[in-house]
Symmetry: C2
Subunit: 204 residues, 2 copies
DNA sequence: ATCTATCGATACAGATCGGTATCGTTTAAT
DNA sequence: ATTAAACGATACCGATCTGTATCGATAGAT
């Protein structure tokens, strides 16, 4: 294995095991065994296990959010439909056979102290995801974009947790239906959302 | 301390510590130290740590659901308002300074194997909670009661997870608003709910 | 081709884990 | 008052944990 690939390989292996068994339950020895790497090698790339967890979460954060962006860009152009497309992305995410809950929620559940770096990393992921929702909602010209974005976020989180327990993607489909019902009646800006010319204060 | 109280005391102590630090992170030694009890005593009441976890979850399950029932009974008589009262209960639950996320979701996050008894116990709690929602929805004469109950459940779970990250009760209030908007337009049975006159029993 | 940094393998340290064994003391029921 | 069970305290077991030390082999860059 090439030198520069080891770090990536370690992160991917750790991420997979964290997702399968959790953080505390995943020992360093298991990670290096699955990665086929010596313990010294792991500790040359990551100072502590916590550093490995943080690096893994950071990587997954970027992966997830850029994957959602790409999915939305690929599947919808209409600003309103782009909002609903996030639920389609979520459905595919939950339908993966490796799915066993949101790893950030699990990370927050295992590191409950609000000053714990792992907890803070989980919170940061949710904040960045919420910020993307705000972009989408803003582009759809909703009034109170922050409120609508928070509602989308809440639906996403609820769907994922229920899906984690029921091991079905049905909660995600239900969340999308709820979103459609909620945002069909949500008042939009006087300048209708399909207006090709930019509305004042448009961010993206 | 009286003999019969030891088991209860152990369960309460364990529950508190599990809620503070999680399950794996809470060692037996910490539990007995906080409970002021010898290790032999703990193992005379519970065969293994897993048994202690399961007993704690079972206890908490019954406590939570009976507390929600009592709250709803106390705060609303109108069948529709009783549904919304569950969100008021949830708000008080989340507003507690000891709140750090749903212990059943955390339990499922730390025991991801679907055949793990702890995971199954967490799932059972959610199923029983959902069943109660179905009772409430049925009493409110909604068509498709199971669908409506699942939506309430999804809103609850989403609110709790977002509240876990933000450490605010605001997500719960938002979830209640979403429920009001969703179920205001939800079609009810031809026999409209019994009280056509102004809603009594709404919370103060 | 040589040098240097990183690799794999292994052994080990020190702490902590869940759980057991022992024993003297206390408590509840007869 | 006596008996039997549960108690507290403590020492201990084997396993596992994160992290370090050592050392020969290997690979990248010059």
């Amino acid at each position: 294995m090439r030198r520069s690939e080891i770090r990536n390989h370690l992160l991917e292996t750790a991420l997979r095991l964290f997702n399968e068994h959790g953080y505390q339950a995943t020992g360093i020895d298991l990670i290096i065994a699955e990665a086929g790497v010596a313990k010294t090698t792991l500790y040359r790339h990551f100072e502590t296990k916590e550093d490995l967890i943080l690096a893994a979460l950071e990587r997954r954060d970027e992966e997830d959010r850029s994957a959602m962006r790409a999915f939305v860009d690929d599947h919808a152009t209409d600003p309103l439909e782009r909002i609903f497309a996030t639920f389609d992305f979520l459905e595919a995410y939950v339908d993966d056979w490796r799915f066993s809950g949101c790893i950030f929620v699990s990370a927050a559940g295992e590191h409950k102290d609000t000053v714990d770096p792992v907890f803070r990393a989980a919170v940061m992921h949710k904040r960045l995801t919420l910020a993307y929702f705000e972009e989408l909602v803003h582009a759809a010209r909703f009034v109170e974009p922050k409120r609508i974005a928070a509602e989308i976020h809440l639906l996403h989180e609820g769907a994922v947790v229920v899906a984690q327990m029921s091991r079905t993607a049905e909660p995600v489909r239900q969340a999308r239906q709820m979103a459609r019902k909620l945002f069909a009646t949500a008042e939009q800006s006087p300048l209708s959302r399909s207006a090709p010319h930019a509305a004042p204060g448009a961010k993206a």
